[in-house]
Each structure stands twice: as C-alpha cells, then as structure tokens.
C-alpha cells in the first residue's frame, strides 16, 4: 500500500518569483512508469520535524519516461512543504515519491474540451493539453495568472494549443468571464478547471446556472490540511493512543506513529483515507470535499488527511 520509489531531484528551474520546477528521475537513469494527463504524485519531503507528504500534479509529457516534472509555488502559509522545496531542496538529492494517481481524468467521449487554469493550477492543465494535442482532440486552454511574469508554462501551452490558448493577466485587469466562456458550447463539451478554491466554486456555480450537468464539469482542488488545536486519537484495534499536534494533520500523526492508512490525494478529495469513527468526545471539523452532509452529520466517518478535532479525543477503527 502507498508504494513509494526513491527518485533523484535532478533539476531545479526558477520559473518565476516563488515558482520552481523540479525534475525527478530514476537514480539508475532507467524508465519511469507511464501516467495519464491530470495525474499527481505525492512527495515525501524530509522536513526537520519529520516527513511531510505533499501532492503535486505532474506537468510534463505523460509519454516522457525519463523524467517526471512538477511545478511548485511557494505557499504564503506554507506548512513547511513548499518552503522546503524552495529553500532547502538541492539538485542531486534523493526523494521518495508515490506512484502517479489520477483524480482529474479527461472525459474520453467529449466532442470538445475547455481547459481552464488559475495560477499554479496550470500544472495538470499542461499535461491534459499535451495528451489532447497528441490525440488530435478538439480543445482550447484559458490561463489566468497574476502578472505577466507568473505566466509560467505559457510557452509550452502555446506550442500545444496554438491560437486556442487565451491568457488573462490580472495586473492588466483581464479576467475570465465564465458565463461567456461556457455560453453556446456544442453538446458533448467538457470543461475542466484547476485553480484556487473560489475560482473552482464560481466555475461550478456558473456552469450549473447555465444548465451544464455536473458530469461535464471537472475540477481539481487539493486542500492543504488546516492547522488547529491539538487532539488525541485512540486506535480501537491496537488500543494505542497518539496526539495530533496543532500543525500536523491527523493522517500525518497516524503515519508518524507507524500506521499506514491508505491515501491518494492527501487533500480531502479522493475518499481513499476514509476512516470509521468509533467514539468522539468533541466536534469533528470536516474539511474534506468528499463526505456527504448526511455522512458528516452521522459522526461515523472522518477523512484524516484534512479533517481534525477541536481538541478532545477521537477513537477510530484502526
């Protein structure tokens, strides 16, 4: 479960202020497994306080078996992961990486694809664009970013989408009008967005208002686990107890204690880490995008990658 391979950080490129690209290659120069457009990998970053596992979308060419590429923006409120990649990571360093998983796949039967990227959300969009270009599919790309220098990967997108790449630069007061973007599209069009949470919500809402069914609107968002009060976790099956520190996620605390709960996204989206709650003497803060309201209300389930307790103690079936 959660198989990892050791790769080398073979190259670090400064793409823009606060945005770095990393290449990951095999130590023996051998081939890497294939992945599909939209996939992500989880890096195990050796932070001073312990391992931090963060998901990153693969940006490269899914057919490139020599290297995996990711682009990382330094998060202002970094929990240490992106800061480490920006300050401490060195070329040549070895790093543990999970196998690629795809939570943001393309609709194979679409007649046309509209790809939308907001900021660093451009990363999975590039790998989608690459795959669509290779398949000869009909697609267009819309890329919104803060200022011209933050339009990283624009050249790659230009090569793939040509005149069907549209850029929107906030510093020039350019914004995407979703209503206009989604208006009058032929049946069978699928729209994809990766960007900040507010943009994702706006996108889904506009599409819904315009009669698009959810089956045709796709988005990817990984939440970073929010910090909070420390709390205690009791493992019902092994009768153990551990403490989740305030800057730690429950999943991280479980891993630090030597258990290996399953995960894919570590961002509350995939459902893989779903854990049964046996008892809880405080309130669960559900931060995931996965559980239904009814499941939340039942108090029987928690997604430990992003959700936590406001103090107190929770007993889980693990």
């Amino acid at each position: 479960m959660n198989a990892e391979i050791a790769l080398v950080l073979s190259r670090i490129v400064e793409l823009a202020p606060g945005i770095r690209e990393f290449w990951l290659t095999r130590e023996d120069g051998g081939e890497l497994p294939a992945y599909s457009g939209g996939s992500h990998i989880v890096l195990s970053l050796p932070l001073p306080g312990g391992i931090r596992r963060n998901p990153y979308s693969l940006v490269g060419d899914p057919n490139d078996h020599q290297k995996w590429r990711i682009a990382v923006r330094r998060q202002e409120q970094s929990r240490g992961g992106s800061a480490w990649l920006h300050e401490s990571a060195r070329e040549g360093q070895s790093i543990k990486v999970s196998m690629p998983a795809n939570l943001f796949p393309m609709a194979r039967l679409a007649r046309h694809h509209i790809l939308v990227a907001g900021g660093i959300g451009v990363t999975p969009i590039v790998s989608h664009a690459r795959e669509l270009a290779r398949l000869g599919e009909s697609f267009e790309v819309h890329y919104a970013h803060r200022a011209p220098e933050f339009g990283v990967l624009t050249n790659e997108l230009r090569q793939l989408a040509g005149s069907d790449l549209y850029c929107y630069v906030a510093s020039r007061n350019e914004t995407i009008d979703f209503r206009e973007l989604l208006n009058g599209r032929p049946l069978g069009t699928h729209a994809y967005l990766c960007g900040p949470q507010g943009m994702v919500e706006d996108f889904h809402k506009t599409a819904r208002d315009m009669g698009w069914p959810d089956t045709h609107v796709h988005s990817e968002r990984f939440l970073a686990p929010p910090p909070g009060e420390a709390f205690t976790v009791r493992l019902a099956r092994s009768a153990r107890e551990l403490v989740v520190k305030s800057d730690q996620s429950m999943l991280e605390a479980l891993e630090a204690a030597g258990t290996e709960p399953p995960f894919l996204c570590r961002g509350g989206a995939c459902g893989q880490c779903e854990t049964e709650v046996v008892a809880c003497d405080s309130t669960i803060q559900h931060n995931d995008l996965f559980l239904s309201q009814a499941e939340r209300d039942s108090g029987r389930k928690i997604m430990p990658c992003v959700s936590r307790l406001s103090g107190g103690c929770i007993t889980i079936n693990l």
Binding site: R111, N183, M210
Partner: protein, 196 residues
C-alpha cells in the same frame, strides 16, 4: 399482475416524466401520442426554449393543432423523426435537456443519437409509452428485429427462432434474443403475445 417489477435488473425502469428545471433549454421527442402525459407536460412548459419533435402520425396530427412550442417539427414516422432529432441535436448547445417519450424501440434509438453527440444520462430522460413491442438483438448473428410482440420470433438476419429475454442492453437499445431450439431442434414452447 402485468405491472409487476421487471424480472431482471437490466430491464429499464421509467420514472414519471417531469421537466428538468436545471436545464437551460429543452427538447421533447414524441414517438407515441400519450395524451394525458403530453397534455400535462405541455400545459406547464419549462423555463427556457422548448423544441418538440414528433415522430408519430397520430401525435403529429393532434399536437400540430394544439401546441405552441418555439420550434415544432412534425414527422409522421419514426425514421423521419429520428433524422429531425439528429439535425437539432447536432447544432444544440450545452444546457439542453432531452425528453424521450414513446415505445422503447423509438426512445432508445433516440438516446443512441444523443449519446453520439456526447450527451450523458443526466441530460436525458426517457419514458416508455405506447406499444410494448420490443427491439430484439440476435446474439448469434447480431441482427436487430424490431416491433416484436411475441415471446418467440424469427430473427430477421439468420432466421433462427429466438426466445426474447428480459435482458436489455442500453448500448444497443434492445432485448437479447437466444435461439430457442438449440438443444433439441424443433422443440419450441407455444408462441404467445407477450409484449402488446
């Protein structure tokens, strides 16, 4: 008794038809003149543009006189009706909802056209009404025999006598037909009208 639940899960279940208020425009395809249903639907049309394609002589006659939809296409048989449906779907935009009313043969052929243009099940509502005659797919020669009302039918492709199963394929829009006397040639149950 005949209203019993479908004996096999693969047989489609049709819910009472309502307009989908999430849609921005609507296309109603009528292949049987189910008067109460159509009158109820058309008396309270949905928000947004409504187009109606009729593929049945009786419904065409009646609705042609009584209905005012933004777009109304009256055809007197199924194949013309399906062609009209396709030409509209081809040019239609996201936000459209498709409502298919009629015998299973008609509505599943229409659903197949919609699927070819990328429509997915949340955009399509089907309602079976009119004849219960079945389209039957021969699992031996892959020919389609339409309008089957009996439990046994001679395949239009290979001539084998097929037993009509309740197993329905949504992809093919048809029930599966298996050769009945494969084991003992000539031994067949009596032919009965099963799908009036």
């Amino acid at each position: 008794m005949s209203a019993a639940a479908p004996s096999i899960k693969s047989q489609p279940v049709y819910r009472p038809l309502e307009w989908d208020t999430a849609g921005a425009s609507h296309l109603l395809f009528v292949a049987a003149d189910d008067r109460p249903l159509l009158d109820r639907l058309l008396a309270a049309p949905p928000h947004g543009e409504l187009a109606v394609v009729v593929a049945d002589p009786i419904a065409a006659e009646r609705l042609g006189k009584t209905t005012a939809a933004a777009q109304m296409v009256l055809r007197h048989d199924l194949s013309d009706g399906l062609k009209s449906l396709e030409s509209i779907v081809q040019k239609a935009h996201m936000g459209l909802r498709l409502y298919l009313v009629g015998p299973e043969d008609a509505i599943w052929q229409a659903a197949g056209i919609a699927a070819r243009y990328g429509m997915l099940s949340p955009e399509i509502r089907l309602f079976q009404t009119g004849t219960k005659a079945r389209p039957v797919f021969c699992v031996h020669c892959r020919a389609m025999t339409r309008g089957v009302r009996t439990n046994l039918v001679d395949c239009s492709g290979c001539g084998r006598t097929l037993f009509v199963r309740d197993h329905f394929s949504r992809r093919l829009g048809a029930y599966m037909g298996f050769q009945i006397d494969a084991e003992e040639p000539g031994v067949k149950p009596p032919v009965e009208v099963a799908y009036p």
